[in-house]
């Protein structure tokens, strides 16, 4: 039964990757990356049990904790860009 979950997760990863490749906007791609991250958490926890080594759950934990730093970095990036272009417009006008 773990196999069914693994296959479902892998299929979803492929779908998320397709979304990341298609875009169209950069935000769709960020969404796909974030979704891919949570699917990796699920995949790693299921495979840890499939291997019979549940002490390797630390890996899934790492992703669960720090995966969203990437999204916050993206938010900061866009925010700073918006601020910069506003400052540019201010100088130009």
């Amino acid at each position: 039964m773990y196999y069914v979950v693994t296959i479902a997760t892998l299929a979803t990863m492929a779908l998320a990757l397709t979304r990341a490749l298609l875009g169209p906007s950069v935000y769709d791609r960020v969404l796909a990356v974030n979704m891919f991250g949570t699917k990796t958490v699920l995949l790693l926890s299921v495979i840890a049990f499939l291997y019979g080594r549940p002490d390797f759950l630390d890996l899934a934990m790492t992703y669960a904790l720090i995966n969203f730093i990437g999204v916050l970095a993206v938010l900061t990036f866009f925010r700073n860009r918006a601020l910069r272009s506003a400052a540019n417009a201010g100088i130009g006008g």
């Binding site: 892998l10 990341a20 950069v26 080594r53 630390d58 790492t62 900061t76 860009r81």
Partner: protein
């Protein structure tokens, strides 16, 4: 069955890599590189290397995206059209690819226990670890003790790279090179106006640092160790800096403290090595650190792992602050 999952992941890896090289938008390339890192970690895990997967997770999930985005903010987001001699490049790549693929036919079968890699010194490490060091994680034993000299070298490479970034970006840029400055008042730094990310993020920071310490000191019993822990703790502090603004993060952990961490960790590693010499052993021989040689080995590994963790945390945080400070000038 698991091998088939591996094949599927490998195929996704190739598709992602092709997309990374093809996309002209560098921001998209960085996002896809994040997916590439996730796939890589899953692949390492399937290939029985949880320690490596944990390292890839700790580095790839946050820090590498943050650094690349910081560099993009300072340079350009799009690749300019136009390329070098594309046909020539494709030709060179095709010829090299043929040579490499031809070489793969001579490689031992995948997973073959009789392959030359598994004959030389690796079985000795697995056999000797219980009697000489007596910790469950063979990877940590090899990293810290059997090949401690190697790891010392790696730590100094990380140290040197950190110093290099500080030298490159530590100076003030010339005024005219960046006419536009992001002028912010104190209350508007970081993501302070984004209430939900701020509340949840602040809640998570102590958990991330605590988990980093767990990975650091649990490294002898499960996947983990100084390299992974350093990256995780640095990621936690970077999260804090993103949320509260970099000045606030520097107030918590000032620059001189970061420099101290960078140098202190490497120094701790070296001192443990010299201590072995002073106590009558050879350089990086931990057996003499305690009356019981096994105990001495364990103390030595604990200390040098701490040194590794301190240096990695310091270097990654210094690099992040160097890039972030550049953006504000």
């Amino acid at each position: 069955m698991i091998a088939l999952f591996g094949v599927f992941l490998l195929t996704l890896l190739v598709i992602t890599a092709l997309a990374i090289v093809r996309s002209e938008n560098l921001f998209v390339a960085v996002m896809l590189a994040g997916i590439f890192s996730l796939l890589m970690a899953a692949m390492f895990f399937i290939l029985d290397a949880p320690d490596v997967a944990l390292t890839e997770a700790a580095v790839g999930a946050g820090i590498s995206t943050v650094l690349f985005l910081a560099a993009l903010a300072l340079t350009a987001e799009r690749e300019r059209a136009g390329s070098a001699n594309r046909l020539l490049a494709l030709g060179v790549v095709a010829v090299t690819a043929l040579i490499v693929i031809f070489a793969t036919f001579d490689k031992p079968r995948f997973g073959d226990p009789a392959a030359p890699v598994h004959q030389h010194i690796a079985p000795w490490y697995v056999e000797r670890t219980p009697e000489a060091i007596d910790i469950p994680n063979v990877v940590t034993a090899v990293l810290g003790s059997f090949r401690g000299y190697d790891t010392l070298g790696e730590v100094f490479v990380v140290f040197t790279a950190g110093i290099g970034v500080l030298f490159l970006l530590g100076t003030r840029p010339r005024r005219n090179s960046r006419p536009v400055s992001v002028a912010l008042d104190e209350s508007d730094t970081g993501l302070r106006h984004y209430l939900i990310p701020r509340v949840v993020g602040r809640l998570l920071v102590p958990f991330i640092v605590l988990f980093g310490l767990y990975v650091q000191f649990h490294g002898e019993y499960g996947p983990g160790g100084g390299f992974q822990a350093g990256a995780i703790i640095a990621a936690g502090m970077i999260l804090y800096a993103l949320l509260e603004g970099e000045e606030q993060a520097l107030r918590v952990l000032p620059r001189w403290a970061l420099t101290g961490l960078v140098a202190g960790g490497a120094l701790l590693y070296g001192v443990v090595g010299v201590a072995g010499m002073l106590l009558g052993g050879s350089f990086l021989d931990y057996s003499v650190l305690a009356t019981d040689p096994i105990k001495g080995q364990q103390i030595g590994i604990l200390l040098i792992e701490a040194g590794v963790g301190i240096t990695v945390t310091g270097v990654l945080l210094s690099v992040f602050h160097a890039f972030a400070a550049r953006e504000r000038f």
